[in-house]
């Protein structure tokens, strides 16, 4: 059995109606995994959106996913950021923590270590904004769990290749 690999794939698509449904439908219809998926318009002038999808599978499945994505008519380009050399990957999360006394102080202290920012505060709660690699956010959330974690909102990973070259 081939090993399961985690890949981050950037997909440039025409920002037209139904394009996200096409991509998601492809994954569900063919039984591929989606760990996270983010989408936003990156070139309003040419109406191009960038989808970043984190998926996992054997190398043969990953190759299939890329070929199947590339087959969709509104897709401009596919870029496997995991295969194509070094890349940086970031995710943003908003984390709500409720607590008083020591727990509250501890939450604030840990947020400082993780370079998270408190963007909302009441007498007994914080909302932290944290960005970084998905692993860093996982670690932060794990620590917050014992300190009164209430709610998490995550964007999913976005990624870009290192170096001067564009996609």
């Amino acid at each position: 059995m081939e090993p399961i690999e985690r890949h981050t794939i950037a997909v440039l698509v025409d920002n037209e109606a139904g394009v996200l449904a096409r991509v998601i439908g492809l994954f569900s219809g063919r039984g591929y995994n989606i760990e996270s998926l983010t989408v936003a318009e990156v070139d309003p002038e040419n109406a191009i959106s960038r989808i970043t999808v984190v998926t996992s599978g054997t190398p043969m499945i990953i190759a299939q996913i890329k070929a199947q994505l590339d087959r969709l008519v509104p897709v401009h380009r596919i870029c496997d950021l995991t295969d194509g050399g070094a890349s940086v990957e970031r995710e943003l999360a908003l984390v709500k923590v409720r607590g008083t006394g020591n727990k509250r102080v501890e939450a604030l202290r840990i947020s400082d270590i993780f370079r998270a920012r408190a963007i909302d505060s009441t007498n007994n709660s914080f909302v932290f904004e944290i960005s970084g690699s998905p692993e860093k956010i996982d670690a932060f959330i794990k620590l917050m769990r014992t300190l009164g974690l209430v709610e998490i909102s995550r964007t999913g990973a976005v990624a870009i290749a290192r170096g001067a070259k564009g996609i």
Partner: protein
């Protein structure tokens, strides 16, 4: 000449600068693209298009009896001509009825444009009368689809859709047309050529030269080579088949074809080993298993071909030519992948072959052929002839013998009769064989035959059918009559869903659960009630007579052939078994029971 008289250039030119309604743009775009026939059914949302159709005389419309039939007709039309098949249906049920046909066209890579009506844009999403989320429903069963919200986009979308449907790996494309878009007007330039370059969709036609060279060198050095070719060759046009035939003869190697590829290489040529796969010939499947170089051109390693994938052709280097990159390494990992159009790659392969003038390993090739001849001697398609009961194989052998000198097109439904037809009818040309290979749609063959006959009015078009499949689109009899199409429906009637019965016999202890077709109509009387010709054969001695009578009349004819009810389709690779574990006949069944793993597979 007639066309030119009908076509008023003056009017055309003034119209070219005029404002046109959405409906006129639809019609004009089809005419501009050279479409001459469309298959459809009217309804509220498409009334504006039907009104525009009424006012012109260049597009012929075939009124079907159910939208499902329309798509299969368009498929038959497209597959027998290589042109685009066009369908026009209304919103809601019209569109949902077309879904099976669209999926069928997607699986078999058939270029179909399906125009669906839609409720007016301001009502979309309101659960309006006859509203369905057509683009949502058809997204996974089309190559691409469009919802046109503004009449200004319509001309471009029509052109784009036809380009997408026809180019690369062909497939069905849906354009959903809200009623207000059909009524609104805009300026429209007629006679505009299809765009040369699509914004994002640009299939690769030419194969990579170094890969082609690598492939040819591998082919030249082969000791036990085998060509394994499929529908991709047929789809790349008559030139594809011509080049394939040329290259295979040049190499002197054996070739097998998939169900979809039949006709891409002449069946009467000795190099042809017959069809490959679950019901393919013994020699084809063993050659697939034992070959050392497999040259796959335009086939996709379908599970019906590969059998047990872990034991599929274990010792071969595999070359795979396909226009669709997602077909490469999907089921089977290959050694030399070549992305490109089959005809283009074959032309290049021939060029390289001639250039390197390879010295083949003649000794090895000869002994390979000797081995193949030994397999061939098993005569896997032999059957026990009977004096009293018509064997389906016999009926088809006679049909083959009596139609082989005619201009014949064959369509089929799905099941035992389909496999027998694939085994016993010999195709020497492409585009002569229309069958639902990928989706396996019962009810495909009859409407497909109507579509074929529309495109080839003078040809002999036979739908080899079963009594169960025929009933799935039996309503189209009325269509065949309306357009006086001399389609022949050749029913191999065993009163069972034969393939279901066969599997129940092989895998489920002969518990024939719901596979008997009770209350069958009298097909002869049924034909007569439509004003068609009905014929029946119940004894082997009658077979030739009914076939001759069927071929000699120029009317829509149904032939009801009462065949052996217990006959099974052999040879057969039970699902989950490798190629070298074929069942050659009923004697083999007991010896090799199907494994539990195999039973899970379909």
């Amino acid at each position: 000449m007639r066309d030119r008289l009908l076509f008023d250039w003056k009017r055309w030119e003034t119209m070219a600068k005029r404002k046109l309604s959405g409906s006129d743009i639809v019609i004009q775009s089809l005419i501009d693209a050279g479409v001459d026939t469309i298959f459809g059914y009217p309804g509220g949302a498409v009334l504006p298009i039907y009104d525009a159709l009424f006012k012109q005389n260049r597009l012929k419309h075939v009124l079907v009896r159910q939208e499902g039939g329309a798509v299969h007709m368009a498929e038959g039309y497209a597959r027998s001509t290589g042109k685009l098949g066009v369908v026009l249906v209304t919103s809601g049920p019209g569109a949902t009825n077309a879904v099976t046909g669209l999926t069928d066209a997607l699986m078999d890579s058939i270029p179909v444009l399906c125009l669906t009506g839609q409720v007016p844009t301001h009502l979309i999403g309101n659960d309006a009368f006859q509203e369905a989320d057509t683009t949502g429903i058809t997204r996974p069963c089309t190559k691409h689809n469009y919802l046109v919200r503004d009449v200004k986009d319509l001309g471009r979308v029509m052109q784009e859709a036809m380009y997408v449907a026809r180019s690369g790996r062909p497939g069905p494309v849906v354009i959903d047309l809200p009623k207000d878009v059909l009524i609104n007007e805009t300026t429209f330039e007629t006679g505009k050529k299809l765009p040369v370059k699509h914004k994002t969709y640009r299939p690769q036609i030419k194969g990579d030269n170094s890969k082609i060279r690598e492939a040819v060198e591998l082919i030249a050095k082969a000791k036990r080579p085998l060509f394994y070719c499929g529908g991709g060759v047929v789809n790349s046009g008559p030139r594809g088949s011509k080049l394939l035939t040329e290259f295979v003869r040049m190499t002197g190697y054996p070739i097998t074809l998939t169900l979809m590829g039949l006709g891409a290489f002449p069946a009467t040529d000795k190099k042809f080993l017959g069809m490959v796969g679950m019901h393919g010939t013994y020699e084809s499947n063993l050659a697939m298993h034992d070959c050392d170089v497999m040259i796959n051109i335009g086939a996709r390693f379908d599970d019906r071909v590969t059998g047990l994938i872990s034991e599929f052709s274990p010792d071969s280097k595999k070359i795979h030519v396909d226009i669709d990159p997602s077909s490469i390494n999907k089921n089977v990992a290959v050694d030399v992948p070549i992305i490109g159009d089959c005809a283009s790659v074959l032309a290049e392969m021939i060029k390289v072959w001639k250039e390197i003038k390879p010295r083949k390993d003649t000794k090895a090739i000869n002994s390979w052929w000797n081995q193949i001849e030994k397999w061939r001697k098993r005569d896997c398609l032999a059957y026990k002839q009977s004096k009293d009961i018509i064997k389906p194989q016999y009926a088809l052998e006679r049909l083959q013998a009596l139609t082989k000198d005619r201009d014949t097109y064959i369509t089929t439904e799905v099941g035992q009769h389909q496999m027998w037809a694939a085994q016993y009818i010999k195709f020497n040309q492409p585009n002569r064989w229309m069958t639902s290979g990928g989706l396996g749609t019962m009810g495909y063959g009859f409407p497909a035959a109507i579509g074929v006959q529309m495109a080839h009015p003078k040809a002999t078009v036979v739908d080899i059918s079963g009594e169960a499949s025929f009933q799935m689109n039996i309503q189209e009899m009325s269509t065949a009559m309306q357009y006086r199409l001399p389609v022949k429906v050749f029913i191999l009637n065993n009163e069972y869903m034969g393939m279901v019965r066969q599997w129940q016999e092989l895998l489920y202890g002969s518990r024939y659960s719901e596979s008997y077709t009770a209350s069958l109509p009298d097909f002869v009387k049924l034909a007569e009630s439509y004003g068609a010709v009905g014929l029946r054969a119940t004894k082997p001695s009658e077979v030739d007579d009914v076939i001759k009578e069927m071929l000699n009349n120029d009317q829509f004819t149904i032939v009801d052939v009462a065949i052996d009810k217990g006959e099974n389709c052999f040879p057969m690779i039970p699902s989950g078994a490798p190629h070298n574990e074929m069942l050659l006949g009923p004697e083999d069944e007991a010896a090799k029971p199907t494994s539990e793993d195999g039973m899970v597979l379909v």
